[in-house]
């Protein structure tokens, strides 16, 4: 018991310290490395919060996507000499603001104290919706409560989240122009690593998708893993030979929300309510949506990392 509390206190203080460093380190690269470490500690915190589903998502996103995304952006910023702002670049308003920085602590401390007080004064025992989730779990088609909430009880939330993902990619495509060309030919070690790891990542993604119906895992975790595999392949210099206008690419990108909407329409016809699956088909419907969503999430994340519209060219042999 004492050890557990010690672990929690050390982890909590570590989170706060690492976050502080990630936000206020003088060097932006240093800040990003601290932010990567922050994601790792967050995954441990989710484990301690009895939320292995979230820990899986945080691990896949944090280790596979966020770090690479930030480092790639930093490299592009350095190319246009904007990797760092020195105080000399800061305007007068900014400098005057720096002087009043100390005063900023007062309202922020008051806010933090207020929020802390609010947290402490909440009633200790609040079952929330766990009783309802448990009562309806049998009819949901899956036995992992988190997957049941995501794809059955609050399916429309998840549907709209998938649309948000798609919008982020479309926003990037419309602003960023064509993707930067692949960097030089990958070293043999990197090439071999990407060839060896990618099939394994696909396998583990399929495993997480499958196991997600009854244990921690599911479409978001599996999709994030697929996205990470895409990041690795892009870094190794691989490019799929599809342009952003290719039908195949667009079909996979929209498969998640598309299948979800189709199922919603199907359930509207069958039971008169959107996304109210007939219990007999619930399991299989959820699995179909999850497979489509996994593919869309993975491709969207990889596309976001690409940093522009795909040009439609193949890796030169």
């Amino acid at each position: 018991m004492l050890l557990q509390s010690g672990f929690d206190v050390a982890l909590g203080l570590g989170l706060l310290w690492v976050a502080w460093q990630a936000l206020n380190s003088s060097d932006l690269f240093k800040a990003i490395v601290f932010f990567i470490a922050f994601g790792l500690l967050m995954a441990l915190a989710w484990v301690r919060m009895d939320a292995p589903d979230i820990a899986l998502a945080e691990a896949a996103i944090g280790a596979g996507v966020t770090g690479a995304l930030l480092l790639g952006a930093l490299a592009r910023l350095r190319a246009s000499n904007a990797g760092e702002t020195t105080m000399g670049q800061a305007g007068n308003g900014q400098r005057r603001f720096m002087a009043s920085r100390r005063l900023l602590w007062i309202p922020l401390l008051l806010m933090a104290a207020g929020l802390g007080y609010a947290v402490l004064s909440l009633p200790g025992y609040t079952p929330g919706l766990s009783a309802q989730v448990a009562a309806n779990l049998g009819a949901s088609g899956v036995s992992n409560p988190v997957t049941a909430v995501l794809l059955n009880f609050r399916g429309y939330d998840t549907l709209l989240e998938l649309v948000v993902l798609l919008l982020a990619l479309l926003g990037m495509w419309s602003m960023a122009g064509p993707a930067p060309p692949p960097s030089a030919e990958a070293a043999a070690v990197l090439d071999g690593l990407s060839r060896f790891l990618t099939p394994l990542v696909l396998l583990v993604a399929a495993y997480l998708l499958w196991v997600g119906t009854r244990a921690p895992g599911g479409a978001f975790q599996a999709g994030s893993l697929l996205g990470a595999a895409g990041v690795l392949l892009i870094l190794a210099g691989w490019r799929a030979n599809v342009a952003s206008t290719a039908l195949s690419l667009r079909l996979v990108l929209t498969a998640g929300p598309g299948v979800f909407v189709a199922v919603a329409a199907f359930s509207l016809l069958m039971s008169g309510q959107m996304l109210k699956y007939p219990p007999a088909y619930a399991g299989i419907l959820i699995l179909i949506i999850e497979i489509a969503a996994t593919l869309s999430i993975g491709l969207t994340l990889a596309g976001l990392f690409l940093g522009g519209r795909p040009r439609g060219e193949r890796k030169s042999p």
Binding site: Q4, S5, G12, L16, A19, A22, L28, A31, F38, A45, R48, D50, A51, D53, I54, E58, L69, L70, A73, R76, L77, S80, N81, A82, T85, A90, G91, G93, Q94, L108, M111, A112, L115, V119, P123, T126, P127, G128, L129, S130, V133, P145, V149, L150, R154, D157, T158, E161, L165, A168, M172, M175, A176, F220, Q221, G223, I297, L304, G307, G308
Partner: protein
Amino acid sequence: MNAAVLYALVGVGLYSLGLYALIVHAHLVRKILAINVMGSGVFLVLVALARRGGEAGTDAVPQAMVITGIVVAVSATALALILVVKLAAETGYATLSGNRQE
């Protein structure tokens, strides 16, 4: 004080640190990091408070919200980073115009 309250307080701390950094730093990548830390703080509060169910078990609804939240946060971050990259390519600065000398 049990673990749930401890982590909820850490979440409040993260949110406050993030808000501070969001206000004081001009560099937009730092602002993006700050928003991400604030988001993590909110997620932590949500999930920590979902653990007060006792024997009824952990509430799965906030957990599901946080999972989608993490994936949406990373895609929003990617979009924001591309905006900053484009801004820097056009202007040579990764800060908003009010925060720099012209």
